[in-house]
Amino acid sequence: MIQARDVTKEYVDGDGTRVRVLDGMSLDVAEGEFVAVVGSSGSGKSTLLHLLGGLDVDYRGEVAVGGVKLRGLRDKALARFRNTHVGFVFQSFHLIPNLSAVENVLLPSHFGAAPVEARKRAEHLLERVGLGAKKDRVPVRLSGGERQRVAIARALFNRPRLLLCDEPTGNLDAATGTGVIALFQELHREGLTVLCVTHEERMSAAAGRVLRLQEGRLVEERAGLHVATGGSP
């Protein structure tokens, strides 16, 4: 599913110093894996996620997701890739405040081909994450856990093969976080590839494989136990 080879990413920080966050990093993730990436703050975990999701293509090396080489893709093709191949779940949920839950879930439908019965699918996904009764609520009227569930439903809308999660439980209390982790495990069991950047011990424990990002490279912290297969969420 993911092949990254010798990926180097640098940026210039506020005082003009060039900082190398990824330094010849390589990564292979098979279809259906649940991988957790851990590391200290500022180690480049989020940067890695942005590279894998096609949000940032300014790097050296090669990244391919689902057979699609990301660097060199034109903007439209990259946008199509993000629309169809990956789903993002962020720590801060990043829901559009004036849209209802179901409209937030429908957001990806605005940028791709007109889906058949889009609204029905959005409502189904909200049912699936346990928010069927709250589909018309705007984010401010939802709890943190509920907002994250809406964000997960939005990430799943276009049936991506890869779910990229950036500290998805970082803003949730323990009980709510447990529920979200259980949801990821369920999605993984159904065959979805999940790559999760996290500090959360329980999330790492739920993952099949844990990688640590240190000094710009990934090292195996815990090898995978199994690779699940199944239908789409």
Partner: protein, 427 residues
């Protein structure tokens, strides 16, 4: 990006920022409304000048003999029959109509009932003879030809004279308002070779005649009567005046574009062009056009300010929505999608502002016309409407609103499209 999706996102965004959108649209409406209003006023007043006060036909060229010329002293520079034929043969000339003044003074003395009012009045009358074909379209009674001495002389009055009478003379003297139709058939006495202010120019007796109004014409003499050419020739002969040379010739060009060449050719023949009316029309039109242009410029400045206001508002909005834009990019929006959303928001604001500004201008014009009808005195050539709104002005007003908004949105849309999702979504 699909149109339905774009329209949905734009609707949601505008609903959220309805206050800012309203003020942006209001700015556009002010500029567009002012522009449409002043353009409509300029076009309306220009129309009155062109069609009512100085009605000119772009195809007509009025030729007159030179006031003073060496040629005339030697027998040239005259508008005699051979010269008229030469004029008629000029390239681009479709027709030539001769004119001849009655070269003796004339007076009218009316003492009787004038459309229900008692009128007793004497005045000098100028008489100009013209070829019937020049005014045939305006003749409403009988044929426009001289029936001979002792018979009524068919006469046309100027439509402008009628307007001046109706708006100034008639109200001041409590006389009835008249239309051209009412005047048709009206007869009044004219005494040729007589003047209240100067000595008669020909020796001998005066000649009394009856003039009969057969219609009103834009081409008729303003301060006098226009009679058949043959009548003028007959009267000049009767008083021993020049009945061979014409006072003027009106040339009709095949096309307005041929007029400059005809004018040059006429001047080359040692003749002059009587373009006094045309110049007055052009000068008045230019004054109106200049005023309109100044006011239009002011209005366009307002539109520019509106565009700057939209640019500011959208820039602030784009900055505030950076994370939201990043989310859209994360779920599949391309840079062109983001640009389209911002431009479409501005387009809706611009169209709404342009349409409401144009509608406001039309309503204001209607109100001004109503006020003018009710409160302004009934001066000559007072139009029913001071405004003219041809469809290009109306459509142009709406499109100007759109253009101003899109111009204002150009840089904010580029900034929005350049949003780095990785940076805005970090943390």
């Amino acid at each position: 990006m699909r149109l339905d999706a774009l329209s949905r996102l734009v609707r949601l965004s505008l609903a959220r920022e309805r206050k800012g959108a309203f003020f942006s649209a209001f700015g556009v409406a002010m500029g567009v409304g002012a522009l449409v209003f002043f353009l409509g006023l300029g076009l309306g007043v220009g129309r009155v000048i062109r069609e009512d006060i100085f009605p000119t036909d772009a195809r007509l060229v009025d030729v007159v003999p030179p006031a003073v010329s060496l040629g005339s002293l030697l027998g040239g520079g005259k508008l005699d029959a051979p010269t008229v034929e030469r004029l008629r043969a000029l390239p681009g000339v479709e027709a030539a109509y001769r004119k001849m003044n009655v070269r003796v003074p004339a007076v009218t003395r009316y003492d009787g009932v004038f459309f229900g009012s008692r009128l007793r009045m004497g005045m000098e009358v100028l008489a100009l003879g013209v070829e019937p074909a020049l005014v045939q379209g305006d003749v409403q009674l009988g044929e426009f030809k001289d029936a001979g001495e002792g018979q009524p002389i068919p006469s046309l009055v100027s439509t402008r004279l009628l307007e001046l009478y109706n708006k100034t003379f008639a109200p001041a003297r409590k006389l009835p308002q008249l239309s051209a139709n009412m005047l048709v058939g009206f007869g009044f006495p004219v005494e040729f070779n007589r003047s209240y202010v100067a000595a008669a120019s020909a020796s001998g007796a005066t000649q009394a005649a009856q003039a009969q109004v057969v219609g009103a014409s834009d081409r008729a003499l303003l301060a006098g009567i226009t009679i058949p050419l043959e009548a003028a020739i007959r009267l000049n002969r009767a008083f021993g005046m020049d009945a061979e040379n014409y006072s003027g010739v009106t040339l009709v060009a095949t096309d307005p574009s041929r007029v400059p060449a005809i004018v040059d050719a006429v001047r080359g023949m040692g003749l002059e062009i009587d373009d006094q009316e045309r110049r007055m029309a052009e000068n008045s039109g230019a004054a109106v056009a200049l005023t309109t242009a100044a006011l239009a410029l002011l209005s366009i400045l307002i539109c520019l300010l509106a565009a700057v206001n939209i640019a500011h508002a959208l820039s602030a909005s784009v900055r505030a929505r950076a994370r939201e834009i990043g989310v859209m990019q994360a779920v599949g929006a391309s840079r062109s999608d983001i640009r389209a959303i911002v431009l479409a928001e501005a387009a809706v604001v611009g169209l709404a502002g342009g349409a409401s500004g144009t509608a406001a201008a039309l309503l204001l014009a209607l109100g001004v016309d109503k006020l003018a009808a009710g409160y302004l005195p009934n001066f000559p050539f007072k139009p029913d409407s001071f405004f003219s709104f041809p469809w290009p002005v109306v459509v142009g007003g709406v499109l100007l609103g759109l253009a101003a908004a899109l111009a204002g949105a150009y840089f904010p849309s580029r900034r929005a499209a350049a949003t780095d999702p990785a940076r805005t979504l970090a943390g």
